[in-house]
Symmetry: C3
Subunit: 358 residues, 3 copies
Amino acid sequence: MDISVQELAVLVGGRVAESPGDRRFKSARIAGAASISDAGDGDVTFFGNQKYLTALKTSRATCALVPDDFQEEIAAIPIYVANPTVAFSRVLAHFAPPPAVVVPGVHPSAIIGECVQLGPDVSIQPYAVIEAGAVIGEGSFIGAGVYIGRQVKLGANCKIYPNATILERCILGNRVVVHSGTVIGGDGFGFELVKGRHVKIPQTGIVQIEDDVEIGANAAIDRARFGRTRIGEGTKIDNLVQIAHNVTIGKHVILVAQVGISGSSRVGDYATLAGQVGVVGHIEIGEYAVVGAQGGVSKSVPPRQFVWGTPACPMKEFKVRNAHAVRLPGLVGRVKQLEKLVEKLSRQLGESPDADAE
Amino acid sequence: MDISVQELAVLVGGRVAESPGDRRFKSARIAGAASISDAGDGDVTFFGNQKYLTALKTSRATCALVPDDFQEEIAAIPIYVANPTVAFSRVLAHFAPPPAVVVPGVHPSAIIGECVQLGPDVSIQPYAVIEAGAVIGEGSFIGAGVYIGRQVKLGANCKIYPNATILERCILGNRVVVHSGTVIGGDGFGFELVKGRHVKIPQTGIVQIEDDVEIGANAAIDRARFGRTRIGEGTKIDNLVQIAHNVTIGKHVILVAQVGISGSSRVGDYATLAGQVGVVGHIEIGEYAVVGAQGGVSKSVPPRQFVWGTPACPMKEFKVRNAHAVRLPGLVGRVKQLEKLVEKLSRQLGESPDADAE
Amino acid sequence: MDISVQELAVLVGGRVAESPGDRRFKSARIAGAASISDAGDGDVTFFGNQKYLTALKTSRATCALVPDDFQEEIAAIPIYVANPTVAFSRVLAHFAPPPAVVVPGVHPSAIIGECVQLGPDVSIQPYAVIEAGAVIGEGSFIGAGVYIGRQVKLGANCKIYPNATILERCILGNRVVVHSGTVIGGDGFGFELVKGRHVKIPQTGIVQIEDDVEIGANAAIDRARFGRTRIGEGTKIDNLVQIAHNVTIGKHVILVAQVGISGSSRVGDYATLAGQVGVVGHIEIGEYAVVGAQGGVSKSVPPRQFVWGTPACPMKEFKVRNAHAVRLPGLVGRVKQLEKLVEKLSRQLGESPDADAE
């Protein structure tokens, strides 16, 4: 699968430098692709961001995709292209390992309950357990050790990675991807304090996930107390995210790793919550809103607003506040100086520097 | 299972409005229950909180439980009741899906080690693995794919959801619920730096969990270095919570999702830690204390105190501080104004505005 | 396994007090070891930290290891030793449960794919699934329900705990420990917004983990978009940690529970990230740097620097800022006082207190 630099240039529609040692350049062999800092002998890398120029100069890559107007001296053999990032995607496609071939069928060790409906071309891997009444749509893949509860419904072409768990009655649309270790449909966290004991409030609802949602590894999405916890179409959820009961996530939302959303809150379409954000219960985050990393959202956020901090406030305000906080020691000094001056002025005017005496 | 509005009114001890079109009202069919915003055609909802009035007016619910003195015009058919929230619980019980019937017994695919003691009426699901010497109390349920280590002891009527993991020698009381993906008894995180390498400190203790504890999905509770990591009776732990080695959690404590508690810390009875709170090691949180969401607790908290922030401080102080932080830009302006005034006054008095010259 | 106090003193090279009731002292039986607060009848504890003196005085331990110069009156029988902490380690070793004996071999229920290479003395536990082309090095242990993807390579003497998941083509060195529920090699979180939809960017790289790494329970380490997500030799990672695609973690790093590191960031050798720290993408944390708990790191951190806060800043600065924030209410009072004084002075000088009139 390795190719010469010349072949690589053709592949990406680029140009190899005319330079001394030309021949060596063009016939050098490339066997893999890597980032500037990871690349080693036989690797091609790419220069997509000016801030990596120093790194590129010391990179051990054999070859580098650079912009047409690139002028620097580098050790790697440059291939000049219009857009190094786009060109590198083509390189990656060339060097990507062949995807695993999944042969449809039910592994003999899988346990399939009564009245389970399996669509055509499903693949059920070893030690998967599918409980009674579940429906698995056409072309869906159920990984090894996955648990699918009774009456769960999966649409077509879903991919459930090994050791994920989907509990009873939850509903997933088409092309939903659930990564390993994730739990969908655990009980919502609802208790009532009765005579000094937390009594469980039954959680009888479900989780409903629309088409084209992807959920990372070891996330937890709780079933509703009643009705549905809902994840809208096209939303992408990263690893270790917590979504509580009766939450509604809109369409095409981005929830980065370790986000936590409390019960009954709503997140609008195209909103983005950065890593480790927390959201209290019963509020609404508007569409296209953005919450900065680690933000703690304690009240509703209007559409398209960018908030940050704990408690979260508009980004602009957060930055002003933060800038002032940084300068606070200076402000303290200025106040001290003023106090000295005013005391001096007061003394000159024969006054005791005590405003309250007034 | 669907019923008429009239039947629903009888079920909740309420009253349907006398109004034109009365007949249509009372015979309309209700097939499900949902929140105001989720409810659609054929659903009943409830109006339990004044702040949802606007939502109620645009709700697509067919029927709504409202308080006796409710006067607003709504599209849904109102049923008047003394307490809509309480009435709705009855509705939920009516529409709740029948709980899964668990037939006691050991699935032939479960692997049961030597000298395992299974109480009467236990249910061991497919591909569960129970290692030698474990004890499973009467009526306990071990879900599919669950791993129970050697010499683990479970009391009566525990419920361990699919793909949970309980490691060797840990002890669980009666009626303990462990949700999917949770790991109980992983090694505590203890290393000692010796000649530039982190050398593992053996973690030979256990986790002991008392009666009526419930633990959410994908949580992690580490075994003690020696002795026990202990979770007190009636405590409820949400998803993705981290409890380190030798921690002691009291009775009836609430730990909300993504909380993390470091080694050897203690949490008193009835304390509440809101979502994403972090607690350093070797401190004590008093009984009935409350830590606000995302709080970072770096020193012990007295009983009944409410703390917030990072580092956490009493709620009152946090609010004052935060209010001042919000007004900091204004304060900076005031200081600037003072500086101008003082300079002017000094000039009038023929003074150089330099206090240090004094 | 229980021993007399006299025998215990010999075991730790210590001395039992010459005191009235001597005989009772030396023949008392000790059956276990526990911390000062956990210890009960028949337990030995140790006094390693002055701050636990009060606790020691009320401890129910039968025996306590105390420093040679210890003078306090305690209820427990004191054994005097040079270093109680060190002595207690010996005690722990004595009372530690025998480690589980793992008999090498492949459980008949394990599913081993084509062309899998199993080294000598491997142990493959029940319901483990090892896909085609995987390599398991000598003496490695694969727990029950573990999933090992195709072409995964494990070195010698690795320990993979029950229900962990290692996905295709990832590479682990020697003596790597992976705790239960952890997922290695899930897809990186990479999407591109095209015509209003998040289109998945293929994640074709791997995770590479070097020798002597230990990873806690329910952690998630994503595979690289291309190339490798890399964890350096000797690094220790706690529970519920998130490591995004293309991150590079150096050697002998400590990542405490619930840390999250965003894509392509780098953490230098011997750095320490305390609990719940978050790190944005594409930055570098220098070697030996330390980030305080819950810190939010938004730009690169120089080697050996200690940073804290969100956004993280040098510890010293954070403390100054925090101290000033605590005193902010006082500062507001001082400014108010100055305003009054200046107004008074201005009035005396027949001036309107309006600097802008100038």
